[in-house]
């Protein structure tokens, strides 16, 4: 049985997940598959771009974040997915060799108006580098099953 239900998420709660080492090989492999731009593929070409060197696709940061929160708590929850993402900000490049961690903050929670068996929890997720500087921030509202459906 999944452990975490909608009722278990408290606004203000903070958790840290990771670390996870991001290698040059996986940055290039992700880019080759989903975002084959020079700044994500090749050091020399990347140094001539605004990134100033090889950096991961922003979508890879989102995907790594997703995987780390899955391992962190979502797979151990009544997750029903998400209707979307309010905002993603790619603040700084994710460089090869960075050990990233995720800081999760519960911002808000509310009942679902239409579905009594479900509730919504709004999160701020931050991808942090080795110095705890945020590289990417992501605000999203996730849907969870309730332990006690609303009557």
């Amino acid at each position: 049985m999944p452990k975490l239900h909608w009722e278990d998420f408290e606004p203000g709660a903070v958790a840290i997940y990771g670390p996870r080492l991001v290698t040059r090989e996986e940055i290039v492999a992700f880019a080759a598959e989903f975002d084959p731009q020079p700044m994500h593929l090749d050091e020399t070409a990347a140094s001539a771009t605004i990134l100033g060197g090889l950096g991961a696709s922003g979508w890879q940061s989102c995907c790594l974040l997703m995987r780390m929160i899955c391992d962190g708590f979502i797979l151990d929850s009544t997750s029903m997915g998400a209707p979307g993402v309010e905002e993603v900000r790619w603040l700084k490049p994710l460089r090869p060799g960075t050990r990233i961690r995720i800081r999760s903050t519960v911002m808000d929670k509310r009942e679902s108006k239409s579905r009594g068996e479900m509730g919504m929890v709004k999160f701020l997720f931050e991808v942090l580098d080795d110095t705890d500087a945020p590289l990417t921030t992501l605000t999203t509202t996730l849907m969870f099953g309730r332990r006690e459906p609303r009557p």
Binding site: F34, S57, C70, G84
Partner: protein, 159 residues
């Protein structure tokens, strides 16, 4: 190729089409979003989705790939004509990403992007900032994903 000055709000680019197969849905989920409704047909049937469906990040990442491919074709054609090619990217971020409908096995998604805002960059004088509304629609014409993203585009006139 269009530099920042050549772009207009309302311009629409057809990005491309992708059919989502079961194997790639599961392979993506295994790497990045291993929730059962993206991984296992039987579990997905019991979930509120009713059938195996792609991770929303998968639907988004495919847009990115098709966008890069579409642009590469334009770049190669421009270079063949001896034209200059404006630098594009990186993106600052995105907002209002909506996963409006699940993407099920066999769904055919058509992606497009429309320019919604253009403004000069204060921090990088040689660049402008372009905001686009990107979306994907399935074979029934239902929009399955949409989002706004803002990206740097090189200006023809740097001053």
């Amino acid at each position: 190729m269009k530099f920042f000055e050549d772009l207009k709000v309302g311009d629409i680019v057809t990005i491309g089409r992708h059919t989502f197969g079961a194997d790639e849905i599961k392979a993506f989920a295994k790497r990045f979003d291993p929730q059962l409704f993206h991984m296992d047909e039987t579990a997905a049937e019991k979930s509120h989705f009713g059938a195996l469906c792609a991770s929303g990040w998968h639907t988004a990442a495919v847009w990115m790939r098709l966008m890069v491919d579409q642009r590469r074709g334009e770049v190669e054609a421009a270079l063949a004509r001896g034209e200059k090619v404006p630098a594009l990217g990186p993106a600052l971020g995105l907002r209002d990403l909506k996963w409006l409908k699940p993407v099920y096995v066999g769904d055919v998604i058509d992606y497009k992007s429309e320019i919604t805002e253009l403004r000069v960059s204060n921090s990088k004088p040689g660049r402008g900032l372009m905001t686009i509304l990107s979306s994907g629609a399935n074979q029934k014409g239902e929009t399955v994903i949409s989002f706004l993203s803002t990206t740097f585009v090189e200006r023809r006139n740097k001053a």
